[in-house]
Point group: C2
Chain length 235, copies 2
């Protein structure tokens, strides 16, 4: 190996299952036939961290110090870039980038790269925190695309509960609710849907449904982005 | 939280898929309904490390310096104990424990804990390196149990190729071969089989087969041991 081995840091634990799902997809997206062709990764998965959505609405403590502790730990461990296996956590992206002092591959950049040029109306399934943060909508606007969101009612009765079910390992229930949230967006004209919460792809993929074909899994897109980052280095 | 949060370190990457499988089983074995009830883990998964089996037979460079680098990195990151998501790597357990200076939960201790008292003939499916290391056989002997191993021919035509297929993501082929290796041990009187290679449970579990009921998954047993370690601290 000519140059020093670049390592990827993964800031996870929000939640733990979504972190494992990201690592699994990182393996699936890596063109490898032998162990040593896979990305070297160091994962910080410490789920003892304040909930992100209440912090964003000002109803809970900030998780930023905990996330920075994770970034610092990964940096000390020698990583060259970080991927955050949680969409909502990207609310603090600018702070993490500035304070952490290590490149962070943005999940929304990776997901938007997967959008078809001809899709002008794009749905987004995400937590209230991610929606409030606005980083997906800003990217859609820059690409000249209209963003379709679930209604407040759908958010409370479908998206939120689906995420909770995934966190409790109840994937059958999660699948039914997440699928209905996606159907709602398709019915209103979405030509593609970004699954912008790491729990939602787990819910959608748990069973067969016609909506899958229209969905972009932000977790898988981030994994693909990390593989590109790793390959660019080796070229 | 009254006392400082204990963290588990995971030395992985040998191979990457087995590491993800261990993390998945760690989640499954944790009685949790919320994110923060899951174990805080830091994972060092760097697959750029010399192959373990040739090193054990004196036909390749030692992976010990790489594994120690992993242990040191985990220790600097603040872990209080380490689990190694690879059976064969336990060949260097004593070195890692002595040089690393951090407790390491031994996968064979965890797996043997799952053996039924009444089982006197126990099968072991493992790499040649693990078999040569002898740490499973020593524990079986201490428990008064006879160890049944696959023949050299089965090792070359079933076990070895099954592990290779898992590492290449070819689980259908891996399943067929690993199942035959287990059937061979059951036919010779094994009353239980320890799957003592982290790739083998992935192969066996990929499809339905009657052998599963007789198998002890060392990876899952290690996960359970880690959960016990974590819970003991909180009690």
């Amino acid at each position: 190996m000519g140059k020093a081995l670049r390592k990827l840091g993964v800031l996870g634990g929000m939640g733990p299952l979504a972190t494992v799902d990201f690592l699994q997809k990182l393996i699936e997206e890596t063109p490898a036939t032998r162990d040593e062709e896979h990305l070297p990764v160091i994962v910080y998965s410490v789920p003892q961290i304040p909930e992100r959505p209440p912090a964003i609405t000002g109803n809970g403590p900030s998780p930023l110090p905990h996330m920075l502790e994770g970034i610092y730990t990964l940096k000390r461990a020698g990583v060259d870039a970080v991927a955050i296996a949680c969409n909502t956590a990207h609310y603090w992206y600018d702070d993490l980038l500035r304070e952490g002092g290590v490149p962070i591959l943005h999940i929304a950049d990776a997901a938007c790269r997967a959008l078809a040029n001809e899709a002008t109306r794009v749905g987004l399934i995400a937590t209230g925190g991610t929606i409030a943060a606005g980083f997906y909508q800003q990217r859609f606007a820059a690409l000249g695309k209209t963003c379709l969101l679930n209604s407040t009612h759908e958010q409370h009765t479908l998206v939120g509960p689906a995420i909770g079910h995934v966190k409790r390992g109840e994937l059958t229930q999660a699948h039914a609710l997440a699928t209905r949230a996606a159907q709602g967006l398709l019915a209103r004209g979405a030509q593609g849907i970004i699954l912008g919460c790491t729990e939602i792809p787990l819910a959608i993929e748990f069973g067969q449904s016609a909506v899958s074909a229209h969905c972009i899994d932000a977790t898988r897109a981030l994994a693909r982005g990390c593989v590109r980052w790793w390959q660019d280095d080796r070229d």
